[in-house]
Symmetry: C5
Subunit: 307 residues, 5 copies
Amino acid sequence: MNDRIREILSWYASENPGVRTNLARMLNHGRLGGTGKMVILPVDQGFEHGPARSFAPNPAGYDPRYHFQLAIEAGCNAYAAPLGFLEAGVSDYCGEVPLILKCNNHDILNDEKDPISAVTSGVSDALRLGCVAVGFTIYPASAERTEMYQQLRELTEEAKAAGLAVVVWSYPRGSSLSKEGETAIDVVTYAAQIAAQLGADIIKVKLPGAKVELAEAQKVYQKYEIPISTLAERVHHVIQSSFDGRRIVIFSGGAATEDEKFFEEVRAIRDGGGFGSIVGRNSFQRKKSDALKFLGTVMGIYEGSVK
Amino acid sequence: MNDRIREILSWYASENPGVRTNLARMLNHGRLGGTGKMVILPVDQGFEHGPARSFAPNPAGYDPRYHFQLAIEAGCNAYAAPLGFLEAGVSDYCGEVPLILKCNNHDILNDEKDPISAVTSGVSDALRLGCVAVGFTIYPASAERTEMYQQLRELTEEAKAAGLAVVVWSYPRGSSLSKEGETAIDVVTYAAQIAAQLGADIIKVKLPGAKVELAEAQKVYQKYEIPISTLAERVHHVIQSSFDGRRIVIFSGGAATEDEKFFEEVRAIRDGGGFGSIVGRNSFQRKKSDALKFLGTVMGIYEGSVK
Amino acid sequence: MNDRIREILSWYASENPGVRTNLARMLNHGRLGGTGKMVILPVDQGFEHGPARSFAPNPAGYDPRYHFQLAIEAGCNAYAAPLGFLEAGVSDYCGEVPLILKCNNHDILNDEKDPISAVTSGVSDALRLGCVAVGFTIYPASAERTEMYQQLRELTEEAKAAGLAVVVWSYPRGSSLSKEGETAIDVVTYAAQIAAQLGADIIKVKLPGAKVELAEAQKVYQKYEIPISTLAERVHHVIQSSFDGRRIVIFSGGAATEDEKFFEEVRAIRDGGGFGSIVGRNSFQRKKSDALKFLGTVMGIYEGSVK
Amino acid sequence: MNDRIREILSWYASENPGVRTNLARMLNHGRLGGTGKMVILPVDQGFEHGPARSFAPNPAGYDPRYHFQLAIEAGCNAYAAPLGFLEAGVSDYCGEVPLILKCNNHDILNDEKDPISAVTSGVSDALRLGCVAVGFTIYPASAERTEMYQQLRELTEEAKAAGLAVVVWSYPRGSSLSKEGETAIDVVTYAAQIAAQLGADIIKVKLPGAKVELAEAQKVYQKYEIPISTLAERVHHVIQSSFDGRRIVIFSGGAATEDEKFFEEVRAIRDGGGFGSIVGRNSFQRKKSDALKFLGTVMGIYEGSVK
Amino acid sequence: MNDRIREILSWYASENPGVRTNLARMLNHGRLGGTGKMVILPVDQGFEHGPARSFAPNPAGYDPRYHFQLAIEAGCNAYAAPLGFLEAGVSDYCGEVPLILKCNNHDILNDEKDPISAVTSGVSDALRLGCVAVGFTIYPASAERTEMYQQLRELTEEAKAAGLAVVVWSYPRGSSLSKEGETAIDVVTYAAQIAAQLGADIIKVKLPGAKVELAEAQKVYQKYEIPISTLAERVHHVIQSSFDGRRIVIFSGGAATEDEKFFEEVRAIRDGGGFGSIVGRNSFQRKKSDALKFLGTVMGIYEGSVK
């Protein structure tokens, strides 16, 4: 284990050796192993958006085994998916890539204003499937957030006792936020802070915009002239807001977009001190050869081999 | 055990031997045993629609023993019913047909917009009654779906630990869907995907229509020109959406209809790669001799002896 | 044990010997013991309607011991009451009459549109008080019915494991039913079917009227010309709807009424194949000597000694 | 133990010896010990109405120890209070007065139409504090009453298993009752009946007025000419409605009032066959010397030494 | 242990030795150790108000380790924070300052009218992190208060059984209170009383204003001429309302304000018999050297070395 990984693990000194071992497994796996950076492949869109919207662009993705193969060949640090997808493929790939069991899920067949995901799996599933971590989504700003925080607390307590790391997707959504407000810089940093305070080992947030949503926060951003004009500055502010850089925070790119724009965002994450990316639709919604090339560029930017 | 059954079981490699044994029991039972196709007799209409609507057309069906006899004589792969119906007949037919205990039920004496079924039995009941599987209905699109998914998750965890297979009826219903939308192709495939992600071993959906309900989905169906004009194509798309054919999906015919129309649907299921039918009202709401003939034709289509 | 009782018990072959023993205790007790008919004394009106409305007509009934004495002297098959009434009298009458602990209760101090009873006692109470069965009310058609079905399921599971029989009061009530609809023939038979499917050993329903409430049901009653014009025909249809006569179904007479009218109803229950009556207000709201005479006539009709 | 106490205990023959022992401890304690009458000091007003409204009239009452001293010096049968008040004083007075732990409480900082109290302590607390009983308030007529009855049932089951007696405050309140209706004679007797049916050992109700609230009840009161014109008659009717006098029922005097009026009420309780009083604000909201004199008169009326 | 600490501990004679030991650890720690006064550093604002609003004024505070250092160097009696903040720093400071785990938290991304905090950690966390106490916020006046009281009761029961002290933040908030009403004298004293009755060992309230909110209370304040015109008088009244001074009550200063005004408030707390301050934003939102000076003055006022 190199010094950078030792340093990162030192931030988790309150965790038991089991949790730190599983964090190390992710940090030391794949092409970015040992760099302290991470690229994770998440595939929960079949549940979250429906199968055709997720897999029609690259029908190979209907097969649960495809995503294991993609994550392995691309050298991702981990692969995250719901119960069904992991169960339907894991037996062919035991031990080939660290797995994160996504333990709650939300569909859009009834798209309520204040969403809450259903708890769809848990620690015993993660253990029997050989996972290194559990994943959980919270929607701060939803009227249902109290319930979600408490579900996460229960999952976290049980997961860590079993030596599993906890990865939290913290996505502000709800009736009291505008669409743009969901990625406002003060809202994203608040979401990261909440996840950190709830005990998340790895935090996943969306890339923040320059908007400040809350009036009380706006006063502070102006008074203290917090720099948030560039994306790298905003990433830096997110990292700062996550215990001053002492928690692993990774960013999602969101909807499929132009490659070069995506790479620019990755550079901003890197320059702002972010720990990496979680890349779903931009990777599995193109042919595998294209995806491997795409992910190769992303990882190259993080490891410094690509500008 | 023949190669086709071995192949099907290979998709369930994450399940323990108990679950795979019970899947094999269903796949190898009855006239279609060993073909990889299934015809299941379900009789929960007494609870779901009331006794007269269910049994007046063929009053022999008021007697719980009748349906055991029908399933056995017709050579069905399994018989599914609620607690009371199984309890009131099983002692006379122990081991003669694989049984599925339907563990939740809904009546229409108070027909709410966003339905949820009551949990009416569970794993301990299934075990003491000699069942091979538990059955559970979810209504994706209902505002109550989160609760149902979580109930299913608990049942699934307990059932599989006891070696029971899990059969999920996935029927989109709720205030946000039109009646026609309940069988829209994007909605039915989404419902199948959700059931698969939740860990269903066998998925039961309704035959889909050609409508696409959700605007975001419609864009994808058009852009990628997903073929959905024939029923067989739509069945194929459902199968694809259920882990690319690696989960058993069977179809319900719905309300009683003309026989020839029903057989046409069975042919489409067969041609689209579906795994079989679950035939309730079309079988038990006619005289037993007629029902045996009718089911014989259905099975004949699946096994290839009838065109 | 005579053949009729053996036959009745054979319908309950799925139950453990403890439950069948307690069913036999009721069937073999009192004046109607061994006939396969039952008359049960229920006294939960103090809770359900208030004390003065219940006991002012015959103030002896304020004393919990009175009802034990009445049930014993009349030769009833069983006496059913809430926790407090049983606790306050049982010590003086241990083993003299089979007891049914009514485990949920409802008052009318806040008479909501969609009622649910409170769970007021349970299996451990029934066991320590020497009861043979637990009783539970469900209100199909109430928006709260899902919760009630699930409470009943839990009680049933626990009760049967302890060898107690389960008696279900199935009374359709709720915002979606008219007052007359509560005793419509399709609604009462539906309520009986639901109780049977939920695992009830003994089902108690109200005597049905000739109205058909639900439009979908009405089509079936007309198409198949189900005979429901006489009370005896309707009783027969209820029995048919309760697993074709393979579950014990008894009827309540409702509010106090003229004796001769009541006896006519008893004859219809007998002629329609019903298993007996549960007689509350008509028995305990008159002097004991009158009540004994009244109940004697009822039992006489059932045993055939009175026309 | 004298014959009257033996007689009272005989009504509780279903209770285990532990419960009967604790009932005896209260009945045999203090100035009224052995008379079968009780005067209990309750001090939960700090929680229910706020501290200044409760204790400003006699600031000594801010100190939790004061009320122990008052109950002991006055010779009350028992002292009842919430967790905090008992915890903060009990160590100085172990065994000097029977204690009732009031296990739920309600404040008026948010005074809802359909109240429910919070469960604030339980059986393990009562046992470690040396109590003889638990106390619990229900609000029949509140839309939340079902939940309260079920909470009481759980508490009762646990308490009696531990040998503790159960004291129920049964106060009808809720959106469907007028203020005057809360003390209507039919409503108060109904509330007493419900408490008795729920298994209360001691029932506390408010003194009833002559109004009859419910239309259905009114018919009965008129038809049977139930005497309710004097307070003593109404007390008698409450006692009758509580299992014909076979449950201990005590009455609260309500808000502080003129002493002579209060003594008149006590005489009516005595003459109507009531078992005693629970005297809160009228005792602790005056100087201790005055309170001792006041309570002395009340006890004198019950024991017959004062007219 | 000196006599004052012994005296304070004597008020907690009902607590087990474990709880009293942990109370003693706080009372005997830091600069005010042994004085019977306390100054506690709480840092939950990252969760409650968001990271920038909390830490931008002094960015060193983004780092969880900073607050441990501040509390230690300032000689605070204890440091209180949510799970994440304690976990991320405790390993470097084991045993250097008594820790209070704040077990519930609330954010303002969805700021509802009747708030309830999410339970975010518990007793097992407090124990594994070496804490001396758990902290919990209740919002009396919220429509959700019943749930909060019951959550607190469960936490308290478990915490005290494990020897942990219980610190309750009692902040009236909710739809039925005006903003000014939240700190009305009758409301704050009521909130303190509720916390005390619920079993709090240490109570934290806001400094009260001179307003009386509730009409019924106003009558009492006027009739008994309760002195509430000066802040010291109001503090005295809060202490009186918390079991006549037999519970430790500390006060929060609220939002950052001018230093001299803050010191005046501290003097009023001291003069009114308050037990100390909980100082968050006024301490960690300035440079550490300034904060140490500021806290030094506060402590000096309490210990008498500063006027």
